[in-house]
């Protein structure tokens, strides 16, 4: 009897010893949050709830945390509200999105220093003078499991991320794949390897074929809504649309230190009911941004028409966009009167609230004329405001279509129809003007409201009373 008992005990011990050790890694990931600070109370609640279930929850961002709301982007320390809120929610790491560079080199360095989490990017190599404290990768200990995370940002046609090139001067970028593969040693040192990617969905799928040693790609940039995650070449890829509509909860199951199962589910954020009340108060504080009351310039005379304010805007595009000429759709000027006195940041954001990008075009006088006519046609037959020139036009009395348009430069002479001019307009105007121009232009990486803010600050005093840039010739 005693012999049987001892044998059973030995067998039980053997079976127990054979049982595989099973562990889980839980990751909550966001991408392309684009300054959606209003969603952080809900995100905080979701993070708290998951953390209650999984105390070692990792929270990651695949980049483009900023650029999308002036409350964040034009804070006294630009984009600081997002950093503060990400600190509160408990983010563990972010990679760089192209829009992180909208802060410029020194601004980004400051934001990274204010973050309680590392910024990971393997293919960005800044000049040391910026003190941009980037790391290519970082290892996290998640309940005894080592998770290695590598970051990477996608490069546009110019070989740099899609932002203003001047904001990336003295920062070198290397090919994402070539950069990532240098860190393959993490496979040997870690139980789980994650790529935090701001490359875009298509690139994530392509790169997955070349990175069999990665377990998970947390993606961003293309704003692609995946249903949970997708398996490509054995690698789980996740991504959501922008501004915190949803986030992803990924579960990696490990047995004996090896990933044996990967699953992901979406969690709705925008519009969700339960919120973290402390974070809600912090968002309310940031929403009452005192920087918006900052006086940019004094209007020595009142503005009393859309045209006077439109002229102010187009002058700003010429001056701050370093262009010869400018124009913008009349519908984009959002109020018509402004009292003499202070012109504040808030006033500019009410005047130009659409977050339109400034677009630079190099086009001939003829191509510009065609664009202005098309803008008039597609903007409810409203004549666009022009800068660096005046527009004289005649309308057909029955159709209200432009019969004749003459553009006159500051020297009083008609624009040369064959000469190429550097012109700034806004992205909306550019989009609604399909013409046969040679140059469709490019975004200069700044929104038009920023140009107006800079212009007012540089001018200190402005007077546009009686100022016109349009002249309808009536017979």
């Amino acid at each position: 009897m005693k012999k049987i008992f001892i044998t059973s005990l030995l067998m039980l011990a053997t079976i127990t010893g054979m049982a595989k050790e099973r562990k889980e890694v839980h990751i909550l990931s966001a991408n392309d949050m684009h300054a959606a600070i209003e969603c952080f109370p809900r995100l905080g609640y979701v993070a708290d709830s998951l953390r209650a279930l999984y105390p070692d929850l990792l929270i990651l961002s695949a980049g483009d945390n900023r650029s999308g709301d002036p409350l964040n982007d034009m804070y006294e320390i630009p984009a600081y509200p997002m950093v503060a809120l990400m600190n509160m929610v408990g983010f563990h790491a972010t990679t760089l999105g192209n829009h992180e560079f909208d802060s410029n080199q020194y601004g980004l360095a400051r934001l990274i220093d204010l973050s309680t989490f590392p910024t990971l990017c393997a293919n960005t190599h800044p000049d040391p003078k910026f003190k941009l404290h980037l790391r290519p990768w970082h290892k996290f200990d998640v309940n005894g499991i080592t998770v290695g995370i590598i970051g990477a940002v996608g490069l546009g046609q110019l070989g740099i991320p899609e932002s203003h090139p001047q904001k990336m001067t003295d920062i070198k970028f290397s090919d994402p794949y070539e950069s990532i593969k240098q860190y393959e040693f993490l496979r040997r040192e870690c139980d789980v390897v994650v790529l935090l990617s701001h490359l875009g969905y298509k690139e994530d799928v392509e790169i997955s074929a070349k990175l069999p040693w990665v377990d998970l790609i947390v993606g961003g940039h293309s704003h692609t809504q995946l249903k949970g995650g997708e398996m490509h070449n054995g690698i789980l890829i996740t991504q959501n649309t922008n501004r915190l509509k949803r986030v992803t909860h990924t579960t990696l199951v490990l047995e004996d230190g090896k990933v044996v199962r990967k699953t992901a589910e979406n969690i709705e954020i925008r519009g969700g009911k339960n919120e973290n009340k402390i974070i809600k108060e912090v968002v309310r504080y940031f929403s009452e941004n005192p920087a918006f009351a900052r006086v940019l310039a004094q209007a020595t005379t009142p503005f009393s028409s859309y045209e006077e304010l439109g002229c102010l805007m187009t002058d700003a595009y010429v001056a701050e966009g370093k262009a010869e000429l400018s124009f913008q759709n009349a519908g984009g000027v959002r109020y018509s009167t402004h009292a003499a006195g202070a012109f504040t940041m808030s006033d500019v954001l009410k005047l130009d609230p659409f977050q339109n990008e400034a677009v630079e075009l190099n086009i001939t006088g003829k191509e510009l004329t065609d664009m202005i006519i098309k803008c008039y046609d597609n903007d409810n037959q409203l004549m666009p405001y022009v800068g660096g020139m005046t527009a004289e036009y005649t309308l057909d009395p029955s159709t209200r279509k432009i019969k004749k348009l003459t553009l006159i430069g500051k020297d009083g002479k008609k624009l040369n129809m064959k000469r190429t001019y550097k012109v700034i307009t806004n992205s909306y105007t550019s989009a609604i003007c399909p013409t046969t121009r040679q140059d469709e232009g490019h975004s200069i990486g700044r929104i038009t409201a920023e140009l107006i803010i800079d212009y007012l600050e540089h001018q200190k005093q402005v007077s546009y009373q009686g100022r016109t840039c349009l002249k309808e010739i009536k017979k």
Binding site: G156, S430, P434
Partner: protein, 68 residues
């Protein structure tokens, strides 16, 4: 930069978003663009994307509405 919207090729400025592609599409088709904020956009693989997505990331998109 070129992108196809419902199989129509659209040429846009560098740095344009899906919103700009739809605005241009509406301008070319002569249709009211005021509804674009409420439409759902799908990429060539059938995934939903959004109006602020960089157009450079999508070589073709599809929209489904009665108006467009």
């Amino acid at each position: 930069m070129k992108i196809k919207v419902n199989r129509k090729t659209i040429t846009l400025f560098e740095g344009a978003t899906i919103r700009h592609a739809l605005l241009r599409y509406c301008a070319l088709k002569g249709i009211d663009a005021s509804t674009i904020e409420n439409i759902t956009v799908y990429d060539r693989f059938g995934h939903e994307t959004d109006l602020d997505a960089p157009a450079s990331q999508h070589d073709a998109i599809r929209i489904k509405t009665n108006n467009l």
